[in-house]
Amino acid sequence: MKTTYREALREAIRDAMNRDDRVFLMGEDVGSYGGCYAVSLGLLEEFGPERIRDTPLSESAFVGAGIGAALNGMRPIVEVMTVNFSLLALDQILNNAATLLHMSGGQFPVPVVIRMTTGAGRQLAAQHSHSLEGWYAHIPGLRVLAPATLEDARGMLWPALCDPDPVLIFEHNALYNLSGELADDAGPVDLTRAAVRRPGTDVTLITYGGSLAKTLTAADELAADGIDAEVIDLRTLRPLDADTFLESVRRTHRAVVVDEGWRSGSLSAEIAARIAEEALYELDAPVRRVCSAEVPIPYAKHLEEAALPQPASIAAAAREVVRGG
């Protein structure tokens, strides 16, 4: 079946709502408006205003209320317009969602799912465009997902709702219009493993989310140069499936990490550190990282493009580790 990332997400919500009447969706403008990125368009008509809830404009409140509803046995899906606005709810996510199980001696699991948009590339300027999923991947007690494909957009929500722990799902804004074929019986996917999206032998390119497509494009460019790159999609940012990328690096002996987040103190730093800890002596070249410039995401189109990882900069980094610059 031909579909888009947006429709696959919607189908996943619909499916979850049909499977379990404890599931409901809430957030700003998710009702008749259909959500900021039109993911929930049509669901109000289908499920009614009790299960597709427009909320007052207050991130801390609707994330906190989602946590409360989860404590009471519901399975809320909370939509936050963008990761930048999730900062208004950071207290709820870290101090409550991620901590209550531990602090209640195991009595209070928090099975809430919080979906949000992340990333740059649509000229939305510095308060709508950051990639902060790496911050959330820093927090014990959370599971952090980054669907980059139609299968994962369709398949990650249900297992996330079944997870007794809080799960954050990051949807990169460049992906909503991604279209392609999805199997008619596509359904829940495994959340524990990273995926090899392109096998290769010369260098391992490790990425996730909105950078996957750019990295695959870079790999095609590299192939034309005679460099056979392997591309790994992390899929789950916490807990990390390090085995998959370590196994790859042990074969290719070279690694480039591509992450739209900032470089210093980041998810890309974590991956590079894991490689250094577990596979340093397998490396033929230092690990390279391709990240966003460490600035507030610029507004002008050409500046925004220049500040983000792009196929050309990814390919350049890969060439450097393969050929020594």
Binding site: Y33, G48, L57, S58, L88, A293, Y299, A300, A316
Partner: protein
Amino acid sequence: MSSPEQWTHPEPDAAPAATAAKPTAEQVIAGLRATDEGGADLVQLLTPEGERVTHPDFDIDITPEELRGLYRDMVLIRRVDREANALQRKGQLGIWVPLLGQEAAQIGAGRAMRETDMAFPSYREHGIAWTRGINPTELLGIFRGTDQGTWDPVEKRFHPYTIVIGNQVLNAAGYAMGQKFDGRVGDDEGEATMCFFGDGATSQGDVHEGFVWAAVYDAPLVFFCQNNQWAISEPTERQSRLPLYQRARGYGFPGIRVDGNDVLATLAVTKWALDECRHGNGPILIEAFTYRMDAHTTSDDPTRYRLSDELEMWKLKDPIERVKVYLVRQQWADSEFFDGVEADADKLGEELREFCTNMPDPPAERIFSNVYAEGNPNLEAQRDEFLDYVSGFAGGEH
């Protein structure tokens, strides 16, 4: 006071769920009622029909010249708004945030301010910007995506536009506290701050915390809420059971609902509020009851969630028409005046178009500018590496 019915939501199960295309009859009626009536406490000095009425607490002496000035402001800023909207449609702007319908709320509030007062806008306050002496061309970069607005916020006393809903309210509270600590409050020469936000913003914790702070520190702050009835697709009833101005009481300061489509009433109420603040009697909440006549932004399609009937009804309360009627009826303005304003508007529109299409793209180094006030070695190294990489491409100025 509002009647008890206004204090509760309609029963959620009372009627079948509406579809996006077709609200239920109950919803239509509830919607029209809610948006039509400003209620008994609404301060109005000029009715939608252009009739001058009085108010026991708020009145204003206005000269013909002053009223002509307010009219001119509103016509010009509406033209700026329509012109920018059209520029977006032609692909010259990435997005535009229309103020159509909110001209009186903004011109009335803005003209009540003195040069020494400070303003914290959200993102729709083009009319306030106008009253602060900011050339509308300086707004265009924000919407074309070339810069973040070029006015000097200190000189103009107009803070940069704020996008994250409500978070400027805390900064405004702090700024107003500073005015007080500095001893710039207490008499006729005192200073005050105005903070602008929408009906939707009133649900944010930041706004409530701003209310608390301003109240306990007696800050000279006028909270100016433009209740334009909608927060994107959500009606004001999604944010509050209580009429918004009544919230102020719970925080311990006065709240006033003014007809935000009445420039005279808005001017009178805001002048009074600023004066109270100057003398140390702040803060004060003003709810300007108005209507967003156009989409939330040019990316929005309001037919998805609201009825055209509602719009038609608000057209009858147009903020500019009533002033025109009054000016004519009083013989305070003749056709020469109105033609002159039209000609000024045409000229302004032309300037905007001209300016917009000739805006230069910023240079690549801009990416690294103003991240730190002073230099930062890590960032400078990244910048040099970046510029070096970029210069490797042919013709690669950016």
